[in-house]
Each structure stands twice: as structure tokens, then as C-alpha cells.
């Protein structure tokens, strides 16, 4: 197989500045199709900026981001990428049902998808109440549902499981794995290191740089640590010694 069919996202020498401060310092990596790639790192390390660049809503200073062999954010790829921001980006005064119906019309998705999606994100019972009256976790799931509506090939999820109860979190990860089995590509950011074990690939970030791009197994082998949090710290230490 050539790289064009296995690579979903290719990032080359990506540099981004926000408010006069450099946030991303020349990132290079690729993301494979049909896999879950975990984007891990402490808050403020540039995860969100990187995800915005992949979705194509971030002004980029230098470098290139290609998604499904097209420039990120170009009109050909816009309907094929689903993006879930950290704060739920839905209309709080509308119900989950109404939010999904609006975005389904924009995406040209059939209305049958709305019920399916509500089931996937387990909101079937709460779909008539205004989103503002739902709990934080439910609101986050409305936002996730919106991104799933158009059956996108690439899903960019910014901390989708923050504040969710463990059972729901586990269910959502099963949904993500199911999507990946169906050939979807997922990028999931998290500052909770224990979610790393559920990913196929990992991108570890710190202070706007890529520390490592590897699989969870490789991370354990390289650092000799079972615990991802400790493995992350060990990586930072060895990085510091190398410099």
C-alpha cells in the first residue's frame, strides 16, 4: 500500500503563533487511517491549537497540514472532518434534537442519522430538553453527536471524556473503537494519561513540541514503565539528559 491510502493526516514543519507567542514549534508527524491516535500532554502544551490546525480553523504561520490528501480546511474536506471542541459548541437554547436537526440540514445528512446518533451518544431519553438544562456531560455528548452526524471519515475530538462518569467514558471509548474498526480515523486529545492505553498510536506533546510518536506498547518498552503517567515523565527526563 502506498502512503496516500494509509495516511489520513500529514503534518509537516507546522508552526503556529497566537498573540505573538509561538505555540507550535515545527511539528512533523503522520496519522494513519482507521486508527485512534491519542494526543497527550499537559494543559497548555498546544493540543487544541494543533487540532484546530488539522480542522483548518487555525491561522498557520508556516508548514503544511494535509487531511485526506487535501489541504486542511479546504472545501473538499470540510464535510469529511468532524470536530468536537473542548467547550460544547451547540445552541444552549435548543434541545439536543433541534441542534442535531439543524446541523444535519447543514451537512446534508439524512434525518434517520439523528436517532442513530442520539443512541450512539446515549441521549435518547433527554433529546427534548433545552441543552442548557442538561448536565455538563450530557452537553458534551450533544456536541459529540453533532460531529458524528455527517458520518465523517476523520474525527478530531478535543478532550471528549472530561467530566464524564467512568461507565460512560468506557462506553464512549467503545464507540470510538467501533468507529475505527469501520475505517474512521480518530484523533483524541487528553491530559489524562491513563486514556493512552485505549489508543492505537500516541502523540506525546510538551510545550509546543512533539516528544514522541509511538504506540502504547513502544512507550512502555522504551521507558520500562507500566504506568503512562510515569512513562511520560521518564520521556521528559531522558529528553532533558539528551540536551
Amino acid at each position: 500500500m502506498n502512503s496516500a491510502t494509509t495516511t489520513a493526516i500529514a503534518v509537516e514543519a507546522l508552526e503556529v503563533s497566537r498573540g505573538g507567542r509561538k505555540v507550535l514549534h515545527g511539528l512533523d508527524f503522520t496519522v494513519s487511517r482507521g486508527r485512534i491516535t491519542g494526543l497527550l500532554g499537559p494543559s497548555g502544551c498546544g493540543k487544541t491549537t494543533l487540532m484546530r490546525s488539522i480542522v483548518g480553523v487555525q491561522i498557520v504561520e508556516a508548514g503544511e497540514v494535509r487531511v485526506l490528501d487535501q489541504p486542511a480546511g479546504s472545501s473538499g474536506v470540510r464535510g469529511r472532518v468532524g470536530y468536537v471542541t473542548q467547550a460544547p459548541a451547540v445552541y444552549p437554547d435548543l434541545s439536543a434534537q433541534e441542534n442535531l436537526r439543524y446541523f444535519a440540514r447543514i451537512l446534508g445528512a439524512p434525518f434517520a442519522r439523528i436517532e442513530e446518533t442520539l443512541e450512539t451518544v446515549q441521549l435518547d431519553g433527554h433529546s427534548d430538553r433545552p441543552v442548557r438544562d442538561l448536565s455538563g456531560g450530557q452537553r458534551a455528548r450533544v456536541s459529540l453527536g453533532t460531529a458524528l452526524l455527517g458520518d465523517p471519515d476523520v474525527l478530531v475530538l478535543d478532550e471528549p471524556t472530561v467530566g464524564l462518569d467512568p461507565v460512560l467514558r468506557s462506553d464512549l471509548w467503545e464507540t470510538f473503537q467501533d468507529l475505527a474498526r469501520r475505517g474512521k480515523t480518530l484523533i483524541v486529545s487528553s491530559h489524562v494519561m491513563d486514556e493512552a492505553g485505549r489508543c492505537d498510536d500516541l502523540l506525546l506533546m510538551r510545550e509546543g513540541r512533539l516528544l514522541a510518536s509511538l504506540t502504547p506498547l513502544e512507550l512502555r518498552d522504551q521507558t520500562g514503565e507500566e504506568d503512562t503517567e510515569k512513562a511520560f515523565l521518564r520521556l521528559i527526563e531522558t529528553e532533558g539528559e539528551a540536551q
Partner: protein, 245 residues
């Protein structure tokens, strides 16, 4: 342009208002209450009320739509839904046109209710037709909406958006000729009023109200209003960015 996206947006905006009955009631009924108030402020001076009535019916929608649009658009920006929409296959003009249709419908209802109260209950009399007054009110609503859309790009918070209303609208109201004839103002004010869109909105309403028809200069007023609407919408579209810093 995608018509489905435009109609979907118009329906969504109206749906949001439907969930907010208090705002809807304020939008639809407040102008009628204020016109009634003015009628009895000038109790016994029917000619003053006849002189002011039509311009007021026509200018209320400008003010309310300016406010409502700038705040709705600000919420769309700060709530992340604008960013979500910009990552979807929807054109900026589709979105703006959707807003335009929704607010034009609200303005139609608002102006119709206000005009019905003024003409039928309060005995307002104008030379021209009530329909022309309502039509101009709708045009002014779209003018207010397009300027509000543009202004929202410069508001960082809802406080600022609300305060933009007096900043953008009050000077125009003072200079448009409603409170004092423009040729009696200081020369530099009369000159500046020529550059303000509300001057033309008032002039058109005043002509329908006092002369009975727009005439050629009234038609010119309507052309200016249409031009400003298009310009403000174009500039508003420029402030909707797919990519932000």
C-alpha cells in the same frame, strides 16, 4: 449559495426565539406599547402624533434588530457554534441570508402589530399608505440587522454589544431629522448626517407620511438603504472568518 442551508439557518434562529417567549414578546409588543405612550404624551396634539407616528413605526425595527442581531451573532462567535459552522460545508452568505430571512419575518410581524395599533387603535393618520410604512419598516429592520452583524465583530462581550447600540444608533437618531430639522443644525452636523444611513430611512418615512408617496428623492432614499444593507452584509461576511488566530 445553498438554499437548504439558508432556510435551515432561518428556521433555527426562529426556533431559538420560540424557546425564549419573553424576548419574543418584547420584540413584538414593546414598539406598540411605546407608540401608545407617545400618542398620550402628545395628548390633544394629534398633528404632532401624526407627524411622528410613521417614522417611529419605521425606525423601531432598526433599533431592535440591530441589538438582537449583534448579540445573537456575538453568542454564535463566543459559543463556538460559528467555528463549528465554519468547519462545515456552509457558505458565509448562506448563514447571513438565513439570519436575514428570520429577522425580516420578525420585523414584519413587529411592524404589522405596531402599525395596526397606531392606525386602528390610536387613530394615526398619514398621507401615504400604511402598507408603505410597514414595507419601509421591514427594510429598516434589515438595515439594522446588517449593521448589527457588522458591529458584533467589534464587540468582545455582551456588555459591549449592548453599549454599541447607543454608540451606533443614538447619534443617527439625533441627526436623522426626527428631533430637529436637519437644515437647522450646525453645518458640520448636517453634513455628517448625509453620511448616516438612518437619515435616508427617516427621509423616506417622512415623505410617505407627509407627501403621500416616496417621489423621486424618496426612491433615492430606498436605493441608498439597499446599498448600505449590501455593503454592511459584505463587510459582515468579511468578519466571519474560517480561520482565526
Amino acid at each position: 449559495m445553498k438554499l437548504t442551508a439558508t432556510i435551515a439557518t432561518a428556521r433555527r434562529v426562529l426556533n431559538q426565539l420560540r424557546h425564549d417567549p419573553r424576548t419574543l414578546a418584547l420584540l413584538l409588543l414593546m414598539p406598540a406599547v411605546l407608540v401608545t405612550l407617545i400618542r398620550f404624551v402628545f395628548d390633544g396634539k394629534e398633528e404632532t402624533f401624526d407627524h411622528l407616528g410613521a417614522p417611529l413605526i419605521g425606525l423601531f425595527p432598526f433599533i431592535t434588530m440591530f441589538l438582537v442581531t449583534s448579540i445573537t451573532m456575538l453568542r454564535e462567535r463566543t459559543g463556538g457554534t460559528l467555528e463549528r459552522l465554519m468547519s462545515m460545508p456552509i457558505g458565509k452568505l448562506d448563514l447571513l441570508a438565513g439570519y436575514g430571512i428570520a429577522f425580516a419575518l420578525i420585523a414584519t410581524a413587529q411592524a404589522t402589530i405596531t402599525a395596526a395599533v397606531a392606525f386602528l387603535l390610536l387613530g394615526l393618520e398619514v398621507e401615504g399608505s400604511a402598507t408603505a410604512v410597514v414595507a419601509l419598516a421591514i427594510a429598516n429592520a434589515i438595515l439594522g440587522m446588517s449593521l448589527g452583524l457588522f458591529a458584533s465583530a467589534f464587540a468582545g462581550s455582551e456588555f459591549q454589544a449592548v453599549l454599541f447600540m447607543p454608540a451606533f444608533v443614538f447619534p443617527q437618531l439625533l441627526l436623522c431629522g426626527l428631533f430637529a430639522p436637519r437644515d437647522e443644525m450646525a453645518g458640520f452636523l448636517e453634513a455628517s448626517s448625509n453620511a448616516l444611513p438612518l437619515t435616508y430611512a427617516f427621509d423616506a418615512l417622512d415623505r410617505v407620511s407627509s407627501d403621500g408617496s416616496l417621489g423621486s428623492s424618496g426612491s433615492m432614499d430606498v436605493a441608498v438603504i439597499a446599498g448600505v444593507i449590501l455593503l454592511a452584509l459584505a463587510m459582515g461576511a468579511l468578519t466571519l472568518r474560517r480561520r482565526t488566530a
